[in-house]
């Protein structure tokens, strides 16, 4: 869908000046298959050699580069791709996304320590539990729109953290220690060396990105776009809007849970404070700053947000000051995000779809009544 949208600029006035991003988009839209696959392969090769020490010596002089690439960088990217489905595609503002991350992490941590299950099936269980909790959260709340949904999801994130804090069966405030590492798979050992975790994370990201792109190009993605633009019109065109919003929530939650299971398997120790509200806010910032709705943008946004504080670690506390300054600067210079999707950019400019229903003047039955009954 992205691809075709891009080829569609004929109706617009000719753009003046140099627009490298739009130019690249146009090229990408018309690029033949082999060129696209060449780019995919180049990106994967790039990702495979990314943990090299010489890269790390510049990117992260103060801490181990491969570890940084797993957490926060890889984890943030995975979470941002998940949240992007909820915020960027379906246009629902979710401020409690960290809850699903926590559910995934706690699933592996508690089952791995108490029951000694194998890691790999437990990942599936973690994803499943996260999606169930997404449905449980979404079913009653997705009838709300805009700000109200944001508040309820924020509450949900806190509820999950506080529940973990007060439940002794999963360690309470002390958390869970000695979380086991995954069992070897295909001869790869997971122990203290961070490299295997990096490749596991990379595999997860590639998988999730592929799924996300395919979804967005399908009937599901079109339904999300329609809901974002005009929820009432979408429903009248036969889109079961509630079902599709719930689906977005569930899929986003699955990805969050997936990220959680990987995180826990590497971290050895997890506690409720690993899942604060600020993490939800940071991931949301990554999505918005990167260009919500556009995967390359979201990934870039997550990378920048995760990497900046690590790069400036030598400044100790002041690094957060720099981080905040860069965020403000980015929002001031590129309010639509680093690499926005063209559709989202246009919506944002109209002040309707930018933050999903947040800014949308989508009329409920009542306001529509007053507008249309008078005719």
């Amino acid at each position: 869908m992205k691809g075709e949208e891009v080829a569609t600029s004929n109706g617009k006035p000719a753009r003046s000046g140099f627009h490298p991003i739009d130019g690249m988009r146009d090229w990408w839209a018309d690029a033949p298959h082999w060129q696209r696959y060449a780019v995919y392969i180049a990106l994967i090769v790039f990702a495979l050699i990314l943990p090299a020490p010489w890269v790390g010596s510049f990117m992260s002089p103060d801490s181990d580069w491969t570890t940084v690439l797993i957490f926060p960088v890889g984890t943030y990217i995975l979470l941002a791709v998940g949240l992007n489905i909820v915020v960027g595609h379906a246009g629902l503002l979710d401020l409690g996304f960290v809850a699903f991350f926590a559910i995934g992490a706690y699933t592996w941590a508690s089952i791995g320590t108490s029951y000694g299950w194998s890691y790999w099936p437990t990942v599936v269980l973690g994803i499943f539990l996260a999606s169930i909790s997404g449905v449980i959260l979404g079913a009653p709340t997705l009838r709300l729109r805009g700000d109200y949904l944001a508040i309820v999801t924020l509450g949900f994130g806190e509820i999950v953290r506080i529940t973990a804090n007060n439940t002794d069966a999963i360690g309470g405030a002390r958390g869970i220690t000695n979380v086991p590492h995954p069992e070897p798979i295909f001869g790869v050992e997971f122990f203290l060396d961070p490299a295997p975790y990096y490749y596991l994370m990379l595999f997860a990201i590639v998988l999730v990105v592929t799924f996300s792109v395919r979804l967005n190009k399908s009937r599901v993605g079109r339904a999300w776009a329609a809901i974002r633009e005009d929820e009432d019109a979408a429903e009248l065109m036969g889109v079961p809007t509630f079902k599709f919003k719930l689906l977005a929530f569930a899929i986003g939650a699955m990805i969050g849970g997936f990220a959680g299971t990987i995180y826990a398997s590497k971290a050895v120790f997890i506690e409720p404070n690993n899942f604060p509200f600020i993490l939800s806010a940071t991931i949301l910032a990554a999505v918005v700053l990167g260009g919500s709705g556009n995967l390359p943008g979201v990934i870039l946004g997550a990378f920048v947000i995760a990497w900046l504080p690590e790069r400036f670690r030598f400044l100790s506390e002041y690094r957060i000051l720099i981080f905040g300054f860069v965020l403000v600067l980015m929002m001031a210079l590129r309010p639509e995000g680093l690499l926005p999707s063209r559709q989202r950019k246009a919506e944002l400019r109209e002040g309707t779809g930018g933050m999903g229903a947040m800014g949308a003047e989508v009329a409920g039955p009542d306001s529509e009544a007053s507008a249309e009954v008078a005719k």
Binding site: T8, L215, S218, R219, V220, R222, D230, D232, A346, K375
Partner: protein, 257 residues
């Protein structure tokens, strides 16, 4: 002739305002039925009641033998009723083709799993959706702009695109809310031809329209609403000469000469 849609004593109140009062309308299969009346008469409310946006305060709406009042909006659409809007409501940052594909999707089944795994039936549905959408864009005469973003289309083309999107849901009954508003005479003529073509395809058309020339020309029967009540119904020339209708439109005449 079979009755396709039946309004049985429908009353619609919003608080103290009565938008529709005991309205009875029945529309036969295969006809072009027009709903006319002064501004504020309740015409769009009729559309909103039919499509499930409002649940009528009293009375029943039957479609093709089943009650549809109170049914969810997307189910009404799947049942075979589609509409356009008085103030155009396209998905205007999507392309013309995508807009229509959303309509075709109403009868598709692919979910998240089929789409992520690229299963065969998903591909088949995508292909079908694309072909149907192209066909419909050609049918309404805007095939050349399929890749344009909806909001960049001309006003007349946007109206046509709305019709194409509605047709994409394969409706038995198509509701058109002032389709000719803002069109020039040439466009109106083309629209007339289009509405006839839609009817000849076996669909029933219910339209709200202010352009009397168009209404009288095209409709098989029509009903007149005034202040939420039906004041006349019948063949165009009957309604045209109905005293009540003339009064509703022009006010009560004082010199009777």
């Amino acid at each position: 002739m079979n009755t396709l849609l039946e309004f049985d004593n429908v009353t619609m109140r919003f608080g103290g305002v009565t938008a529709l009062r005991e309205v009875n309308i029945s529309i036969n299969e295969g006809e072009i039925f027009a709903l006319i009346g002064p501004n504020g008469a309740g015409k769009t409310t009729v559309f909103n009641v039919i499509t499930g946006v409002y649940q009528p305060t009293e009375g029943q709406v039957r479609f093709d033998g089943d009650r549809i009042d109170g049914m969810k909006r997307f189910k009404v659409t799947k049942r075979g009723i589609a509409r356009t809007f008085q103030n155009i409501r396209l998905f205007h940052n999507m392309t013309a083709l995508e807009n229509v594909m959303v309509g075709v999707d109403a009868h598709h089944k692919t979910g998240a799993i089929g789409a992520t795994l690229g299963l065969p039936w998903h591909r088949k549905e995508e292909k079908h959706g694309r072909e149907m959408a192209r066909e419909l864009l050609d049918f309404v005469g805007i095939g050349r702009v399929e890749h344009n973003v909806a909001k960049n289309l001309s006003y007349g083309d946007q109206r046509r695109l709305e019709i194409a999107r509605a047709l994409a849901t394969d409706p038995k009954l198509l509701l058109l809310d002032e389709p000719a508003a803002g069109m020039n005479p040439a466009e109106k003529n083309a629209l007339q031809a289009l509405i006839r073509k839609i009817r000849d395809d076996g669909r029933t058309v219910l339209l709200i329209e202010h352009d009397m020339g168009l209404v009288m020309h095209i409709s098989d029967r029509l009903a007149v609403l005034d202040f939420g009540q039906k004041i006349a119904e019948g063949l165009p020339h009957e309604v045209q000469n109905n005293q009540k209708v003339i009064e509703a439109y022009l006010g009560v005449s004082e010199d009777a000469s």
